[in-house]
């Protein structure tokens, strides 16, 4: 057991998988010599050399095309898109090619690759470097979508993603990179599509993802002071979506709150709410409440951004209001 930051966990997870499988290589802008703009890939070039850790030009289509072609022909690429906002300049390759190749060819083509990307706000970077785009990815059949909230989950879910035979979009939260937690020694390989109950509770179910998980946990501690016993679920992956864990929690608590960083309209919580409304309606004692970033681009100033992305204060207030 050792304390590790979320960013160190990224490098450890990649190193673990590169040691495990020679077919794994890493490409992206500034990932090699510079160790990544978020320093999440520091040390990998020294450890694995330039054959397997490769700096690329600013050519997101070329990066993801290379990853796809390599995956189709026997390799296990990890590609980095520096900021998840930049998916917009290579979304054709993600959505029209990577996601659909298996289906359109009726199973002739395998595309086992991982695209890592720094996602989310809180860094005052403004509307083009702060988006939470996990709901874009979730909307595309053929992709898997993962977003860890802790260093241990970064390693375990990254390993599971690299070893998965399907294409995985792996969203690292840029505001979590500096957070630290204890991580077990040795190889860690987790399972995609498994949510984690990170706090047990009896009164309400809070479902969260990525940076919203620590905020939901802090909100739960505050709610406990008011006698509200919240259960917090870290979804960890959106596709596959562990609805069994959510549904059984709602059966117990009868109340559901989602905490989402993505903008409100068609955020991932809309799908979760829809499923719970369909399949656990008679267990609910109150309307489902979605706590989200509003349907606006993200502003830059701290004074504004902090009022836009769901805060601990807002989560507490919305849940207390929802319980009245």
């Amino acid at each position: 057991m050792a304390e590790l930051s979320y960013r160190e966990a990224v490098a450890r997870g990649i190193a673990q998988e590169m040691e495990h499988d020679d077919r794994v290589f890493l490409i992206g802008e500034d990932v090699a010599g510079a160790g990544g703009v978020f320093k999440a890939t520091v040390g990998l070039l020294d450890q694995f050399g330039p054959r397997r850790v490769v700096d690329t030009p600013i050519s997101e289509q070329a990066i993801l095309g290379a990853a796809m072609g390599a995956a189709m022909t026997g390799l296990r690429p990890i590609a980095e898109i520096m900021f998840s906002d930049f998916f917009a300049v290579c979304w054709d390759i993600v959505v029209n090619e990577i996601a659909k190749a298996r289906y359109m060819t009726d199973g002739q083509v395998d595309v086992p690759l991982v695209i890592r990307s720094a996602n989310g706000g809180g860094a005052r970077f403004g509307a083009q470097h702060s988006q939470s785009v996990e709901n874009w990815a979730m909307a595309v059949p053929g992709l898997k979508v993962v977003a860890p909230s802790t260093p241990a989950d970064v390693i375990g879910l990254l390993a599971a993603s690299v070893r998965d035979p399907d294409p995985v979009l792996f969203f690292e939260h840029k505001t979590l990179y500096s957070t630290k937690a204890d991580v077990p020694d040795g190889e860690i390989v987790d399972t995609l599509g498994t949510a984690k109950i990170v706090r047990e509770g009896a009164d309400v179910t809070i479902v969260a993802l990525a940076m919203m998980v620590p905020r939901a946990l802090e909100a739960a501690e505050r709610l406990a002071e008011d006698g509200i016993d919240a259960e917090v679920i870290d979804l960890r992956s959106l596709i596959p979506l562990d609805t069994a864990t959510v549904l059984s929690s709602v059966e117990k608590t009868s109340r559901l709150f989602t905490v989402e960083e993505n903008p409100r309209v068609l955020g991932w919580g809309a799908e979760v709410a829809s499923i719970v409304a369909d399949e656990a309606f008679w267990h609910l004692d109150a309307p489902i409440v979605r706590i989200t970033t509003p349907h606006v681009p993200l502003p830059s100033s701290a004074a504004l951004e902090d009022q836009t992305i769901p805060s601990v204060d807002r989560i507490v207030a919305e849940i207390e209001k929802g319980l009245v």
């Binding site: 289509q61 095309g65 390599a70 022909t73």
Partner: protein, 349 residues
């Protein structure tokens, strides 16, 4: 320079180069290229007939008139090499050895189709033949071909990846990203621009800053400008062989502009009337298949040998089309297969 829609001057083909009769190409290779050109031409002629009968679903983009390029590469590539094509990919797929019946089946939306009826005309793929796909949104597959080339280099093999595309592709960003990328990493990618003079309905010259949409961009990526007569299989063969040999020996990528012409319109919805009739006639006179027939006769091949190839192909085309017409339509259950690698479409756990 810019002229009104449908009013531009005719662009005429270059004269045939009879000196290519003496090119150092084995006669059996030449006969194979003739057979491939016949296969592609006859399959597409039958496809067009089936389309007029209302049997072909969706759209189709015929390669008629352009067969020399895919056939030359088809004769040269090894089974373990990789091809990538566009929506105009029937010829490139057949040239790698995919079955005619499976191609017809896909066009007719049958379960026996190459893609089980799930892809259609624009996505023909036959991985077992090294045909890694037809990509219907221009640009991406040049980048994806680089990935296959990257993989070959990473694994230490001498496989090559060939990306076929049209002149229109040279004006999208992915073309430029892919060429720079291939050059930077010395990838064994061969980029083949089949310049048929029209970006869909618009003359490529009207909307491109240079005369040769591919070759004139080559120097920006440290590559040689190469323009080849795309209506002569031997000309394409010699250029392709040099590019493949270079790529196999670690010499990096090549960009080839193969100058050609499609006899029909852009897609099945397009009669192609925006082209000057003088131009169409001149290019039909430079049809690559009769040209090649004449060359083979000059080289001493018996007329009966060539007729034998033609009739054998015709018989196989007829049989394949009949088999496809008789094949069952896909079962509805396949809607939910092969979304994910477990074979299904399950997204909940």
């Amino acid at each position: 320079m810019t002229q009104p829609y449908g009013k531009h001057d005719a662009i005429l083909p270059p004269p045939p180069d009879e000196a290519l009769d003496g090119a150092p190409i084995p006669v059996e290779t030449r006969l194979r290229m003739y057979e491939l050109q016949q296969e592609i031409r006859q399959v597409e002629t039958e496809l067009h007939r089936l389309f007029l009968m209302g049997l072909v679903q969706g759209t189709s983009h015929l390669y008629t008139g352009m067969e020399a390029t895919a056939s030359a590469f088809g004769a040269l590539l090894r089974p373990d090499d990789y091809s990538f094509a566009t929506y105009r990919g029937h010829g490139h797929t057949l040239a790698r050895g995919a079955s005619m019946e499976a191609v017809f089946g896909e066009m007719l939306g049958r379960s026996t189709g190459l893609l089980g009826g799930k892809g259609g005309s624009m996505h023909l793929t036959s991985v077992e033949h090294g045909m890694l796909g037809s990509y219907a949104i221009i640009g991406a597959h040049l980048c994806i071909a680089n990935g296959a080339a990257w993989s070959a280099k990473y694994r230490g093999t001498d496989q090559v990846a060939v990306a076929f595309f049209g002149d229109g592709t040279t004006n999208i960003g992915a073309f430029h990203e892919a060429l720079n990328f291939a050059a930077v990493y010395d990838l064994p990618t061969i980029f083949v621009c089949e310049n048929n003079l029209y970006m869909e309905y618009t003359p490529i010259g009207q909307i491109t800053a240079v005369e040769h949409p591919a070759a004139d961009r080559a120097s920006a990526y440290g590559l040689e400008p190469i323009v080849v007569d795309g209506n002569d299989a031997d000309a394409v063969y010699l250029t392709a062989k040099a590019a493949i040999d270079k790529a196999r020996s670690g010499g990096g990528p090549t960009l080839i502009e193969s100058l050609t012409y499609r006899h029909g319109g852009h897609s099945r919805a397009d009669p192609g009337t925006y082209r000057p009739s003088e131009e169409i006639e001149a290019w039909k006179d430079r049809d690559p298949i009769p040209l090649y027939h004449q060359r083979l006769l000059r080289l001493g091949i018996e007329e009966s040998t060539l007729t034998g190839i033609e009739t054998d192909v015709a018989r196989r085309v007829t049989d394949a089309a009949e088999d496809a017409k008789a094949a069952p339509r896909p079962d509805e259950s396949v809607i939910f297969t092969n979304v994910y690698a477990d074979g299904g479409a399950q997204w909940r756990s």
